[in-house]
Symmetry: C2
Subunit: 458 residues, 2 copies
Amino acid sequence: MSPHQYAQQNHPRFLTELKELVSIPSVSTQPQHNADVQHAADWLTAKLEKIGMSAEQILMPKGRHPLVLGQWLEAGDEAPTVLIYGHYDVQPAEMADGWLTPPFEPTEKDGKLFGRGATDSKVNTMTQLKALESLLQTDGRLPVNVKFIIEGEEESGSENINAFLDAHGDRLNADYGVICDGGIVEPDQPSIVCGLRGIVTAELEVYGPSKDLHSGHYGGSIHNPIQALCEIIAQLHDENGRVTVPGFYDNVRDFSPLEREDLAQIDPYFNQEWDNVAGAPAHWGEIGYSAHERTGIRPTLEINGIAGGYAAEGFKTVLPATAHAKISCRLVANQDPVRIYQLLEKYINELTPDTVMIKLTECDMGASAYLIDMSSHAVKTARQAYETHWGVPAIPEMAGGSVPITAALDPFVSEIVAMGFAHKAGQPHGPNENIILRNYERAIATAITFLQTITKTG
Amino acid sequence: MSPHQYAQQNHPRFLTELKELVSIPSVSTQPQHNADVQHAADWLTAKLEKIGMSAEQILMPKGRHPLVLGQWLEAGDEAPTVLIYGHYDVQPAEMADGWLTPPFEPTEKDGKLFGRGATDSKVNTMTQLKALESLLQTDGRLPVNVKFIIEGEEESGSENINAFLDAHGDRLNADYGVICDGGIVEPDQPSIVCGLRGIVTAELEVYGPSKDLHSGHYGGSIHNPIQALCEIIAQLHDENGRVTVPGFYDNVRDFSPLEREDLAQIDPYFNQEWDNVAGAPAHWGEIGYSAHERTGIRPTLEINGIAGGYAAEGFKTVLPATAHAKISCRLVANQDPVRIYQLLEKYINELTPDTVMIKLTECDMGASAYLIDMSSHAVKTARQAYETHWGVPAIPEMAGGSVPITAALDPFVSEIVAMGFAHKAGQPHGPNENIILRNYERAIATAITFLQTITKTG
């Protein structure tokens, strides 16, 4: 039986196992889910061992959740070594966010599987695991040497993997790095990511009165921290949708007209998906760029959360002591996260009036953007594998999201390629996150073909 | 025994009973406390009956929490009829707001009693109840006819009392109305309120994408609702601290230089209290006015709450579908709440870009401001009563807070006077709300003296 036949015959079980993994609420940002995150790590470790790979868990002193490292290195020197990266942790999810089904009870409906982590990124991790199983269980071996590293802090700072890379990164040395996170532009149109945005995150706290006050008694005589916070935030963009932080765009890589024409191939898909998924009343963004460019080759400053005073049911006439916002900047090629944070900090300090005090805290998710060479052997092999199983050529895409690990793994591999199998409309980080069931099968086939066709010399 | 002696001898029990009432979490804005609000009403009804007054509960079809009406009308036609107003409901309170002791476990410390509702307004309601008890239990009668109306929705829209006033307001007809809410400027300096601000409240919701999105995938191509909300809010004040809503100041009553000089008597107390209680980094507000004037004779627009996206522990890179803020305007003499809401609605609609949608909802707390005639018999009698028991003349004050009931009761009484016994530093609506224990005793004595000295003809 060929690996592809094995994968087809065993697909019902592969789906059951994916659901098992999705049902584990491995939310790495919330300490109350620590045991669940560990459960997911243990589950993956057992699966790796069962299919015939060595498996270990690695927890560095700085780490909170272990890396799972599966290895099979018996393909010989002539075969390339492929490092596959995935993650098993997920974003928080609550019914109140707008879920129609419980986020950790994976539910099939309309040819989709709904659940937190289905798209980001358990479908990707499971795709690789099942491709490896299919190869090992039929051929008794893999065509390449494989190091499969799966982290548990992708959604919460990646401290453990970064500490591991600092100390023992050479253990992951490989010819090729496969970043298995993210997805394709449209369920029937594979795309291959040639750029990922970086990120810097910060929390901005504004302090006014020493305690919460009665807004009748004091209102009008105190600079309300919510108002001051809003006034600062409102000055972070200009009327052309550009970020006003001085120096923010200084090093941003310009794309040539030819490059922009190439990237424009994706526009019809991107715009349709934008209409279907985003559904905002109108487009918005930096003037002079398409929606795909605004999310792919241009940096942003986004407010991801804000809170202050009493905003729940009813009305509380409070003049609050404090208000805060969570801010992230998505970065593009040539922007340095450290410098961007410093520029942001300097500018926000300049914007702060003497009627309030502020505190800006860097959160632990800084990462540079990453551009991938589309002419490399790894990318060509991946594109061919997608074309074989999807039946149409894969088109290039600049992904708006951040996969900080890409830059972090760069020193240890010769070529890197991003192979995601989710679809962008699958609501990663949002409510009702989902994958297309049919694509899970094509994804596993694609991953098998990639491992069968990648060669050491290209 | 005189009523004053009775009050002194029974003060320990009076304090115990105040604590009993404070320990009832009668939060009228939160449905989960409905039974507690009813408990407070029943508790007061029983107390009124016990001291020899008739007592009833009144719940109109629109109401959620009953009015408690206690009456004693046997003083004869020569004696005046005094309508006393109080409320038994309180604002929400949670330890997380910064309480040092559980808000509904009244705690004595440093000569103060801490607890939600201690200041606003259970000390005031209990002061009148205990003054009435002291008179009835010693003289066997009251020197005046009394209608004591205590509402349970002061913090949540006053629908019940407003419906009652519309239908049966004449049942409250009286010569004098005593609004027993609020407090004095400083624990040892009584002040008498000659103006109360009105209020209009609204909730502003901003809608962007149809659902929460991944801020990496879509960030930069969508007008983030939090950002749009902040941009709207930031345009509601100008650089001189003035509200920018067109027409907002059109009808605001100007105060003459002489009037402003009178009001300036309170400035030293007000400014010291501002420093002690508010403790903001710097003064802020409408240029050209003192802090007392900013809170007393000038209208405001305040943001009482804001929420959007993920603002809790950790970081969630979400581009939220919606964000909202709670807005209140404190109004001054001659401003019409209905017109101010309309002006606000019109302006916010003008400020809203076509990249988002908004919804503005009026909350149920609209009320006009109220100016009180300082030369009336009621006010003079009240000032004398304060001076008798505090030892210093009571000074005039423009209160920043809103006591909507003042205007609502105006048609049914000839003269109105505000007699509050809490102190402004007592953190009404905030954490660690408290009263000065010693002042509870002086307050009861003052209330007794007022009822003994108010006459029908002035």
